[in-house]
Each structure stands twice: as C-alpha cells, then as structure tokens.
Symmetry: C2
C-alpha cells in the first residue's frame, strides 16, 4: 500500500467505528504519532509546526506535566467527596490569578461542562431565562450550550431564550464605533427578550471572540454592553476557554484586557496541556444561593491527578516566562504578517493579542469581500508545507493562528516564510486576482 | 493541632475555595493520600477498605493503567480531528463487547456528557420531545440531564417533557409482578406525554437502578417497558455508567442481563480506572441522521492518552479474570450478607448482581419500613471501622456496596465482620429495636 492508500484505509476504518458525526481537518488529514514542544511528527516521519493547538498550551508532552501526571496517577486518583490538599492548592493558585472579587472554583472536565454549569448558576442566581451570545459563538456541545453556539450550524436549533449579537467589524467599520455598536446590539437583544417576556440571565462571550473571526480591539469595547446587561439584572460570563491562561501576552485572562471583572469565568482547553481539566470561577455571592439549594459533584472533575497536572501547567507558565513570550513572539508574528499583507493584498486585516491571531483573507483590498475559498486553499497549502493553522468566522475566511505558548522567533520565521511561499504559488497560479 | 483540628481546618479551607455546592461523605470526612488495589490509606496512616468506589474499577492506581497513561502522555496527546490508531483500536475493542447491532462509538470525557449526547441523538432521530426516567434517577449534571435526574432533589426542576416511573419493589411486592408493573408505569408515562401533546424520544434508565436503591431482578423485567416505548416511536437508552464493564459478573454490560439490545448505550465512571474516559455507543442507523446534520467534536474526548488508558483497563479485566471474580466474590458477599440478615432483621433485603449490591435497611422485618437514619449510622459506623460504603434510594436506606473489581474472599470476610460488629454495637445500644 502507498502512504495515500494507508491514510484512506485509516479514514475508512475511522468512519466505520466512530460514525458520521466526526470531522477531520485538512484535505490531506494529519496522522501524528509524536509531539514535542511546538512540533508534531507524522506517521511518515514528517515534522509539522503546530500553530493551531492551544490545548497543549505549554507544548506537546511537556516533561514536567507528564511527570506530575505520572507521579500522582501512581499514588492516588479519587474525587472531591473526600478531602485532598492538591485540589485546594490548585484552586488557590488559580484564584491568585484573578481579581479578588472572584473567590470560588468549581471543577469540571471540559469547557462544555464549565459553560453548562455557568448557565445553571446564572439561571439560578437571576431567576431569568434569557441568554445573549455572539452571532457565530461556540461555547460547547452539551444540549444546552449547543443551543448557545450558532457556529454549530443550522442542525442545532438556537434556544428561543437565546439572542445573538454581531461582533464589531473593526476591519471594515474602524475601531471608533466598536464599543457603541456592541452596546447597542446588546441593548437591542435585551429589548427583544423583554418583548418575549424574558429578562437576561447572562451575556456570555469568548473574550477573544475566536469563533467569530477573532476580535480583540479596542480594549474595553465590551464594557458598555456588560453594563447594559447588568442594569437589566443579568450576569457577565467570560468564556476563557480560548483566550485564557497567558495566551494574550498582556494578561493571564482575556477579560482583563477589557478592564471589567466578570461574574462567572469558564476555563477549559489549555488548563491541562491536553489532559481533561476545566473549571468555573465565580464570585462567592453567586454560588451562595446556588450551592445552598443544589449540590454539585463531577466524578472526575477536580481529582488529584488533574489538579497535579493543572498545577504543573501553572508552574511551567511561570518558570518559562510563557506570558512574556506570548507577548513578544505574538508581536513579532503580527509585524511579520502585517508586512506580508503589504505584499499580498488578499491579507485584508491582521489582528492579534499575544499568541491569538486572526488573519482575514479577502478577495481584494477594495471590496474587502471575505474569501473562505482562498482561506481554505491557504490553510491546506500551509498544511502541505508543514505548518498547521485553522480557520474561523462566519465566512470561514479568517486564518486562526494560536500555537502552543513556547513558540519562538525561529518558528515565526517559518510561518512567515511558508505563508509567503503558499501565497506566492497561488499568485503564480492566478488564484489571487 | 490535633488530627481533628487539622481535618476541620482542611474542611474550612475547602469550603472557602470551592464554595458551598460541594458535599463530603461521612460524618468524619475521609482524607486519603494513597490508593492501592482495594485499599485507601488516610493521612494519619489508617488503611480503609474501599467497598464504595466503582471508578477505580480495576483497583486504585493499577500499575498497568498508570504505565499506559504515562507512556502515551509522554508520546502524544491530541484529538479526534487528526487520525490516530489507538482511539480506533479502543473503539474496536469496546464494540467487540456489545451485540453486533451496536456499531459506533463516540467519545466524551464524562458520563454526564455521554448521557447529554444520547439525549441530543434521541431528539434528533425521533423528532420527539418526551423522556421517561425512573423516580429517583441520576444521569448527570449538565443542565439537560440534571432535569432528568430527580435524585438531585427539588432544587433542580424536572423538565416538563420528563415523566418518571417507579422502579418495581421486589422486596415488598415480590418478583412476580415486577415486569408487568414496570411496563404499566411506562405505558402510563407515554399516555401522560401524549396528553401534553408529546411523544417519547426515549426511555432512559441505569441498568442496575443504582440511585433508585439498586434493582436487578428478575432478569428481563424491563423488556415489556422497552417494547412499549419502542411501539410509541421512542428509543431505549441504557445508562451503563454504574452497571457496566464486567461489574455484574455474568455479563460485561448490565443491559445484557435483561436480554434486550439498546438503541444507545452510555458509558462512564469505570472506563479509565479514575481517568476521565466516557463514551456513547450507538446503532449506526441512529447516528446516520444525526451525523449527517451535526458535526461532533469533544476536545479531550477520545484523545490518544484516554484511549490508551481505556485499552489498558480492558486488558486488565481480561487478564485478571475480573468478570469471573465479580461473579464469585459477589456471590460470596451476597450469601454472607444474607446470613447476617438472619441475625439482624434490620437487614430487610439483600439484592445484587456480581459486585453491585444493595442492602436495604428497615426498622423491622414486619413493617419493612425504610430507615435512612439507621442506614446512616451503619455507613458511618463502617467508616469508623475502616470500611467504605454508601447509601442509595429515595429514603437513603439502601447500603450501596460496589468495590473495585479485584475484591476477593479475604475482603468479603472483613466487610461481613465489620458489618456484624457495627450492627452488634448498635444492637447493644438498643438502636435496632
């Protein structure tokens, strides 16, 4: 069998066993067998540079994380119905990274579970039904949060208690009106809920708006909208599954860039460097009512092994200065991509905070029309050139770059070089005009 | 500080950090620091016999599981949007344990997520809204499955699309009418849904009815109810989070004891010997429609590390004959407990399948009135004597015994000896009359 035949056989076996709901990335699916730092190694030995995975946040298979995992797994792995110090040490370390108003941690296994629990708490605290999310939001796959995730497509009917708001388009409309536009949209959503006899339980958004095509500027543009939802008796839930844990470079959490302390914060993907660790952070006054009425137990959430892993990830971020690295490497990547945009006008806009970057691909600089087709060719071209990125946004035309945090200057040069090469090839084929 | 002061300080620190929604087991909370096989070791060095935890299914910190976890975590930990052999090997091994009609696996991290996904699939396949669950069911903590978990108490409002049915009380009503009673109850639930303009999407139950006080006999008593729900166009979802993975001794899965192949099967707790591994098994025809319309991705679900762990657990069950052990040890435990019931009439009824046992505690053998207070004294007395068990049932009067699977004859003698000792002490105090 050729390598292509082997891949085809594996794809077919996968479809037979896992069924039709699973999707693969890239026209030529990736088949990694090993990971180290910011690199993955495929079955045929090719090395690919990982600029896509924010889950292995401190690098694939970081030795200190693996060591913490292996050590604790050999000693004890129970649950939160017994006393254990490590889960409390981890809770304390997490809480030390957030403003003092946020005082409690509840542990789950996935970001979906964290958002689902935040929804339960928000309903319980406010007694309200309505939720306001962004137009192409993704918050998870439970039945409830799927109803608040329009990016899942038309198969999932949005809840009739859900209102969506557009994310300001700074590229086309400029940064000046962003705050006012977002505030007006949330005010309109509150009015629409009121017309249906509902009040908002919460405004829930991802603090870098990752699935909406990445929106990070101007800092503070969400403040007016949060004030509006609070005035209507609703909470502000910051979904940090994408933005969180040092990635934005300037702060540990995405919400800090915007200067407003949330009521509830949900965490997930990067917490465990690949292992299932997630959490809800909350202001104690919100849990007082919920906890008095409802007990909560998550079998695996907050077990000693996941707590040891979570602590190791925090240690590595501190000891390897990964937040500073996200800031400096992110800046270098941004500048380099902006230079490429001068040469290739199909790069319409580059926006980033630390190592979360969106690169908007358009047909041309005048019309600024989104081109999902061109973005797909670029993503697949980069994959062939050994660089992994993804796409985002309602038109799937925003290249999403969010590598593991130990991404350095040498890796930036590779990304820029390969991007120039793929775009140059497309240009030579006449695909950019 | 005394040991008690240290425990109190830890309890207080825990409450401060994790908030008020968490509960601890036992009047004297457990503080384990090490686990090995069927034993836990507390911070003060005391060894306690674990007859409660079904999550560390093949024994606490089984070396082969720890080795598989550590090895794969050091090599690669990615996700199901890339190709990987191990997750397919695991899927194949799981599917080899179920009837041929069930052909697909979808991976999640928790049983809650598996049940939540089953609900989404059942809604999508049937187009119906109604769900039928048992009167004291527990199926998880997402917003949706919490609405199908009456055992969570009055703080969670049951969904208006949910109907509950009582589990047959074989102890008080005898086994003869159990099947007919359960069928009638489900038929009534279908009728009640119809009155509200709804049809059943599914009948969902735990195949040992763990939270309803444990109900295992007579085998097949659920068949008529399943036929009724299918006749009404609904699916049968078997929740195997409690019963599954060799525990019942006679079969790998609880549903097999009852002789009906489910439409959907949900797995959880015991899959990973403590690590977050869970899954939905499905007949392919049900996923065909769901998968064509909806994509599914669970960031951590089905990652190579959890697949390696799941495979190691299956290997250990096979190589250590743990299913046969569950049958033989379970029989020995059942016989011994039945002998104790002759001496202590407060043991009203002993019921078990393999190593899942319910011991119903009553005030006296004549009235057969449930005594949750006495059950609590027994559970806390056993904890003091170094034996961990739990309670179940709407009256919290059923002692739940479900140790790790490598539980042997020597451990059975300890449980029986300590139970006799605690009941003897209670008798001497006049608490049994």
């Amino acid at each position: 069998m050729t390598a292509d035949d082997m891949t085809a056989a594996l794809v077919e076996r996968r479809r037979r066993l896992l069924g039709p709901a699973y999707r693969l990335l890239y026209d030529a699916p990736l088949h990694p067998v090993r990971g180290e730092g910011v690199w993955l190694v495929e079955a045929d030995g090719r090395r690919v540079l990982d600029c896509y995975n924010n889950v292995p946040s401190v690098g694939h298979c970081h030795p200190r994380v693996v060591e913490a995992l292996s050590r604790q797994a050999a000693i004890l792995n129970t649950h939160t119905r017994y006393l254990h110090d490590t889960v409390l040490d981890y809770a304390e370390r997490l809480l030390a990274t957030v403003p003092a108003e946020i005082g409690n941690v509840m542990f789950t296994c996935t970001g979906s579970e964290a958002n689902d629990l935040a929804v339960r708490v928000a309903r319980s605290v406010t007694g309200h039904a309505g939720f306001i999310v962004t137009a192409n939001a993704y918050h998870g796959v439970t039945a409830t949060v799927a109803e608040m995730s329009p990016s899942l497509g038309t198969a999932v009917k949005p809840g009739d208690y859900v209102r969506t708001v557009p994310v300001p388009d700074v590229y086309r409309d400029g940064p000046e009106g962003a705050a006012a536009a977002f505030t007006r949209a949330v005010e309109a959503a509150i009015a629409s809920l009121a017309e249906a006899g509902m009040r908002p339980a919460a405004l829930l958004f991802d603090t870098v708006f990752a699935s909406d095509g990445v929106a990070v500027d101007p800092p503070g543009f969400v403040a007016g909208a949060i004030a509006a939802v609070r005035a209507a008796g609703g909470l502000y839930i910051a979904d940090e599954v994408q933005a969180g844990l040092a990635r934005t470079g300037s702060h540990m959490w995405g919400f800090e860039r915007h200067g407003v302390v949330p009521d509830l914060v949900t965490l997930g993907k990067p917490m465990g460097d690949g292992h299932p660790v997630a959490a809800l952070l909350a202001r104690p006054e919100h849990l007082a009512e919920f906890g008095a009425r409802s007990r909560y137990f998550n079998t695996f959430g907050g077990n000693p092994v996941s707590a040891a892993v979570g602590l190791a990830v925090l240690d590595v971020i501190r000891d390897e200065n990964l937040m500073d690295n996200a800031a400096s490497t992110g800046r270098r990547l941004h500048l380099g991509m902006a230079r490429l945009a001068e040469r290739f006008p199909v790069i319409g806009h580059v926006r980033s905070a630390g190592l979360y970057m969106g690169v908007e691909i358009v047909t041309d600089a005048v019309s600024r029309r989104p081109s999902g087709a061109l973005a797909a060719r670029l993503v697949n071209g980069l994959r062939t050139q050994g660089v992994l990125v993804g796409v985002s946004g309602p038109a799937a035309n925003v290249i999403k770059v969010r590598p593991p945090l130990p991404f350095g200057a040498a890796e930036v040069e590779i990304v820029l070089d390969r991007t120039a090469r793929v775009l140059g090839d497309l240009e030579a084929q006449g695909a950019l005009t």
